[in-house]
């Protein structure tokens, strides 16, 4: 039985009367890449933010690497890396300074931090821009820096919100390879994406959230059995489960 590195139980987040996430429960095991899909505003980012400790759940439980994010937040956070959808990084730090800063926040040994920063900068092809401040980076470079920062402390759990948005095909491929390698080494990777092709090819299991509720979780084969219309592609299953009729109408208007 693989170890559960992310566990959520009856996770609820309310903003006043609006329920953003409603009783979401799922697990992400060690060694797997878990895709989190859903239409815009379905509650993906809110769920991810609760997992990494950025948002306090209204009720429910989240555990990361076995630690409760509410009561053992420091231990949970020490095991986790996070890449947000918008790479808000310290604009006036250089790429290298930013990685060293992150290393110090996670209390890494100085020499280890220097070596790791060099490795990651080289791997993400940021070495040439390492001494430039982040505000001079393109969106893709900032996205890669954000991922490098999340990988600095070699986390057991990696949570990524739309990691491939704004990346060129080469960088997107690099990130996919890195995530796969991380999972193969025993880490749990959870990512949200709108690109269903990525989810279909990369993820071992997929969770679909719609209007704050988790409507399906499982492998591709399991999702196919869930969908009564007999669809085979993830796109068809996704549209069928989340209500694709509106998309068809839009396509008609554009014809």
């Amino acid at each position: 039985m693989p170890e559960n590195l992310i566990e959520t139980r009856d996770l609820i987040k309310r903003y006043g009367d609006k329920v953003a996430v409603n009783k979401v429960s799922f697990d992400v095991h060690a060694g797997e890449v878990f895709g989190f899909l859903g239409p815009n505003g379905a509650g993906k980012t809110t769920t991810l933010k609760m997992i990494v400790g950025l948002l306090q759940p209204t009720s429910g439980m989240v555990k990361v690497a076995g630690y409760d994010v509410q009561t053992q937040s420091r231990l949970a956070k020490a095991s986790c890396g996070y890449v947000p959808d918008t790479p808000n990084l310290y604009a006036k730090l250089t790429g290298r300074e930013l990685l060293r800063f992150v290393a110090d926040l996670y209390d890494l040994d100085h020499n280890q931090a220097v070596r790791r920063a060099d490795e990651l900068l080289r791997m993400f092809e940021l070495a040439l821009a390492a001494e430039d401040t982040v505000d001079s980076y393109s969106h893709g470079m900032q996205q890669k820096t954000s991922l490098a920062a999340a990988l600095m402390h070699d986390p057991r759990v990696l949570v990524l919100d739309e990691p491939t948005v704004g990346l060129d095909p080469k960088s997107a491929r690099l990130i996919k390879d890195i995530l796969r390698q991380l999972a193969d080494r025993g880490a749990a990777v959870m990512l949200s994406t709108h690109i269903l092709e990525i989810a279909e090819r990369m993820c071992d299991r997929i969770g679909i959230i719609d209007r704050g509720e988790l409507i399906a979780v499982g492998t591709m084969d399991e999702l196919r059995t869930l969908d009564k219309t007999g669809q085979t592609s993830l796109e068809d299953i996704f549209l069928s489960l989340t209500g694709g009729a509106e998309e068809t109408e839009i396509a008609d208007v554009l014809k």
């Binding site: 950025l54 996070y82 947000p84 310290y90 730090l93 300074e97 110090d104 001494e131 001079s136």
Partner: protein, 591 residues
Amino acid sequence: MNINSSLIHASNNAAAASILSSVWKLLRLRLQITYNSFRRAKLRNKIRIILVWILLLGFAYFILSASRWLLSLVQSPEFAQYADVDLRGILASIPTLTLTALFVGTVLTSFGVLLQAMYLSGDMDFLLATPVPIRAVFVAKLLQAVLPNFALFSLFGIPMLFGLGISNSYSFSYYPLVILLMIFLALAASGLSSLLVMLVVRILPPRRAAEILGLVGAMFAFLCSQTGNLANSFGRDINFSGTRLAGLLVLSNTRWLPLNWAGQGLVALGEGHWLTGILLVGATLGFSSIVFWFALITAQRLYYSGWAGMQVVARKKSKQPSRTTRTTTTSVGFVYLLPKPVLAILQKDFLTLRRDLRSLSQLISPIIFGVIYTLLLLRRSGQPPTGLGEAPGWFMNSFRIVLAYGNIGMSLFVGWMLLSRLAGMGFSHEGRNYWMLKVSPIRVWHLLASKFLVAYLPTLGLGFIFLTVISILQGLSILEFVYSFIAIVMCLAGMAGILLSFGVAGANFNWEDPRRMNSGMMGCFGQILTIIYLPISFGLFIAPLGFAQFLELPLIYGYLAGLMLGSVFAAGSAFIPLWLVRRRVEQLGGE
């Protein structure tokens, strides 16, 4: 006709639209945005905006009446008889000075607006991709830059010039021409400003240019606010006379400067010298039109060709790994004793504060303030008044002690100004980057300690410099210097604790403009509380010295009592507020 063909037809119509109708469309959009902002503003903001406009209109009416009355007065024979000064030269130069101020002011003030509108607002690409004529986009941008400033200038300039016209009984043609000339000059100025923006952006990235502009603006505004103090202190050394000023104004009315033509033409028309007036006003209108048109076409070409978007001055790229983070702390060895995350935040904050000119501009005012008041103190030589007078000996001795230490309060006041910003915005300064701290396993006390030190250490450094200068000026003994330093160390610590805790309570991470990061009520409460805290805390250090004199005890008792009372109070003020907000820190960024 189906939907698609009607859409294509509509797009073709848009492509064929004239420049004027397109400009109107774009300006209407801007008006719509302004109206929407007003409509969706909170009620108190709406009332505030309406009140500001009523006040501005009232002020404009006041200027009109005051200029009319003053100008009638200074032209009266009685005034000339008593004052024995010929003010005709000064009066004749008022239109020239007003219009020159409008022109120069518009060039300067439009710069920031145009930089924002053309390079930072992000709507240029969107607008240029639509079938709206490019020229219309540029005209709309120039008008957008010039209109708010023009409205403000008009509120003061038009009443003044109309007042002059009424008091001098100028002909009717004077009044519409005042408005026409102001419009033409403002347009020409905004055109020149747009070229200036492009020239600057050719050298510096737009964001950097905006940061530098913010810093210069903050320094200029603060220096202007201190003009009164500077003039009082240094004015005596400047040989200033009304006759000399009058000579300068008459000189400014010469005809070789095109900017003078407008004012002189207006006066000539007003006085009925039609030929001179028409020539000068016509020349100004023509010249302004040429400048505006040339600037418009050039700006459009430079922007479209990409010339103004490509920096020619390549940034120096250091290929060596940055050593800055290490050198920041090697000079202060004790910081290595701090936990690594605290040290990391300390280094990060000092680096970002130093590099981000927008944040630096927030810190510049206390430093300028300190320099100005040190200079003032230097000029007064900083000596307490001498002489026993009629007062009892114990009173004068106590008074001397308090006075000697009183000037040290200046260090604390400068420290208060700097701390209000550094501690008050300690957390808010993180802005949208706060998530990086929030997801890291940093302890709350480490976070608080790092933010405390980020605010406290530079303030202590500044306080120490001021204390040293003041001590030298006042000839304080070593004992007095050391005691004052301890008092400053403790008082500033207490102040940092209070301000930082209010900064936590009112933390705002959603800001684009650093001026907005500390605009909440909590920042104000913190400042008010520290204004009360400061005299109490410093008083607890100083008052026992006066009591010791009063009770004719050895002064050492006063020092010991002061140290104990002041230190306990300041340490409590540093720690207790932070302890109270520790839970709030855990919740920050999670709302």
